[in-house]
Structure formats: structure tokens, C-alpha cells
């Protein structure tokens, strides 16, 4: 048996359902029990995210990288909490009252392609060529359209999400999956979550989705001055 460590909270936090709270002074680690021989998989990741998303609605949590394992509760206290206590307290204070949300805006591809075409001054370069097919050249042209489509959707997303950006403490793009889908993380004061949901629900011009609240995975502070047992 070992412990899969989810995140760090203040010790005063009530123990959530389905996981352990391992406390040391004013700090505590939320952990799940890993049966012997069980490697953490997608179900464990989902459980971790669910627990932390519930917890973050009530107080700050510093999420740990998935797959962080300690042998037992003593190891959690001596190897995780005690050595990193000062930095963890700083992170918790920074994140107090804040939650992360992800917003995905999916635009219509045809609309985007028409917009790219109508605003491109150089559409002749896309013309059908006679002669042997040059796949590399075709891919380069297709990539050019893709880049312009991405720029179009980013500009439109920024317009639509301006009211959320205005109240967010921070924001950062999430990894791209599709040129017509904008994926973005915001760090919001907890009391702005409801109005962000309402805004996203009422958006027109894109298929919009908000996922949250999440622990602030995307907004952890840069290495603090007194780092010794920390790694990124």
C-alpha cells in the first residue's frame, strides 16, 4: 500500500469524502490509498481532479503533479510537508479565494474559412496548379490557412471573453487541439465563478463550455526564493 498525493491544503480544512487528510502543524496533504501493485491510471486521475475541484470551492489548495506517491503518512509529513512548509504556505496564501476555470470556444469552421479567404490579400497563391502534384507545397499552403484560421479564432475569442478577462486575476492559453477551438484557463476570484458561468452560457457565435472550479494547476507561482526541496 502507498499513498497517491493529490494536493496540499490548510490543516483546518474538513476531511473530504473518499480520501485521507494527513496533517502536520497548519498544513495537510489530501491523499488517496493505492493498493499494493496498483499503478495510478486514468480513474485515479479523475478521482484526484474531482476531490480537488470540490475542495477548491471551500479553500485554497496547491495541486501536486499526478503520480506523486509517498510510502506512508510519516513520509508525507517528513518528506513533503516539513521541508516545503514555508513555500507551501506562501502558495496557499496567494491562491486563497481563487479558482481556475477552463473555457473552450468552438467556432464554425466554414465561417472561419470564409473570413480568412475574404481578408487574405494573397488568395492567388492557393490556386489549383497544373502539372505534377507537390504535396509539400500543398501542406505548406494548408498550414498557412490553418495559422490564419487560428489567428481569426483567437481574436474573436478575446472579444467574446473580454468580460471574464476583465475580472480574472490571470489567464493563459491551454494547448491547442484544433484551429477553430480556443482553449483558455482563467484564474478567477471564487465569487466571480457564477457570473462567468452565466456569461459563457449566454455566448453566441461559438459553441461555449466552461469547466470549473479547478485547482490552480496553470497558475502556480514561479520558484520561490527559499526553494530547496522543490522541482519543476
Amino acid at each position: 500500500m502507498s499513498l497517491l498525493l493529490y494536493g496540499v491544503v490548510r490543516a483546518a480544512h474538513p476531511e473530504p469524502e473518499g480520501c485521507r487528510l494527513v496533517g502536520w502543524r497548519d498544513l495537510a496533504v489530501l491523499a488517496g490509498v493505492l493498493p499494493a501493485g496498483h499503478s495510478p491510471g486514468e480513474a485515479d486521475a479523475l478521482a484526484q481532479l474531482r476531490v480537488l475541484s470540490t475542495v477548491v470551492a471551500q479553500g485554497p489548495v496547491v495541486p501536486l503533479r499526478f503520480g506523486t506517491i509517498a510510502a506512508d503518512e510519516d513520509a508525507v509529513r517528513t518528506d513533503v510537508l516539513a521541508p516545503a512548509a514555508a513555500g507551501l504556505r506562501t502558495q496557499l496564501d496567494r491562491l486563497d479565494g481563487l479558482v481556475e476555470v477552463h473555457v473552450y470556444l468552438r467556432f464554425d469552421e466554414d465561417t472561419g474559412l470564409r473570413a480568412v479567404h475574404s481578408t487574405s490579400p494573397d488568395t492567388r497563391r492557393f490556386s489549383v496548379r497544373r502539372g505534377p502534384i507537390d504535396i509539400q507545397a500543398q501542406l505548406r499552403l494548408g498550414e498557412l490557412v490553418s495559422d490564419r484560421l487560428t489567428a481569426w479564432r483567437t481574436a474573436r475569442a478575446q472579444e467574446l471573453l473580454a468580460p471574464i478577462t476583465a475580472v480574472a486575476r490571470d489567464s493563459t492559453p491551454l494547448p491547442d487541439r484544433d484551429p477553430v477551438e480556443d482553449r483558455r484557463a482563467f484564474l478567477l476570484p471564487r465569487d466571480r465563478l457564477a457570473s462567468a458561468r452565466t456569461l459563457v452560457a449566454k455566448l453566441t457565435g461559438a459553441h461555449a463550455e466552461l469547466v470549473g472550479p479547478l485547482p490552480a494547476y496553470s497558475f502556480l507561482a514561479a520558484r520561490p526564493e527559499r526553494a530547496s526541496r522543490w522541482g519543476w
Binding site: L49, L64, R65, I69, V80, V128, G142, V145, E209, W232
Partner: protein, 108 residues
């Protein structure tokens, strides 16, 4: 449409656990789901190639629309043929055309 922090919405956010979040040196970190990540990346690369060709063809169709030379058939191979012949309805292979009184009889 919004997704509260339910299973469906959270599943979309799962990837942030894999490369974000604090790393504590002293603990063991298990290397996980590496193979699944690689296969996802391979699918994304393949999708890009298809997508790029599709985008180029879209620009070509929009070029034709804006210059007023939109072909009656979309397949690029028949562009030359379709441009040379007068417009006529396509006749399926093997079908017998309905007799039209005014049309001259077709040569056998």
C-alpha cells in the same frame, strides 16, 4: 452551454494533471500513461495533414466562387472537361434517358 465540474467536463481537463502541478523531489513519481500520450500525439499529427489539404481545397473553392467560375462538379479531375462542355444534367451510367420529343434521336 456550461459544464459544471462533473465527470464529463473534468475529463476534458485531465491533461493538466500530467504536466502541471507541483513536483516534490522527495517523493516517488511514477511514469504514467506515457504510451497513451504518444498515441494521442500521433493522432493529432495525422489529423493535421488531412486538415491542411482540406483547408487548401476550401481556399480553392472560395477562389472559384469569388471569380465566378465555380465548377458544376466539385472533383478537381473533371474541371477541364466540365469547363469545355455545355452544362447538362449528369446521366447515370446504364440508365435509359426518358424520350424527349424535341431532342434529336441519340446515335446507337
Amino acid at each position: 452551454m456550461t459544464a459544471p465540474a462533473s465527470g464529463g467536463g473534468l475529463a476534458d481537463a485531465l491533461n493538466i494533471l500530467l504536466d502541471k502541478g507541483l513536483v516534490i523531489d522527495a517523493t516517488i513519481r511514477v511514469s504514467i500513461i506515457g504510451i497513451e500520450i504518444l498515441s494521442i500525439e500521433a493522432r493529432i499529427v495525422i489529423a493535421s495533414v488531412d486538415t491542411y489539404i482540406r483547408y487548401l481545397e476550401a481556399m480553392q473553392r472560395l477562389n472559384a466562387v469569388s471569380s465566378g467560375t465555380a465548377p458544376t462538379v466539385a472533383h478537381p479531375v473533371t474541371h477541364g472537361i466540365a469547363g469545355a462542355l455545355p452544362a447538362s444534367p449528369p446521366i447515370p451510367v446504364g440508365a435509359v434517358p426518358a424520350p424527349v420529343a424535341a431532342a434529336p434521336p441519340a446515335n446507337p
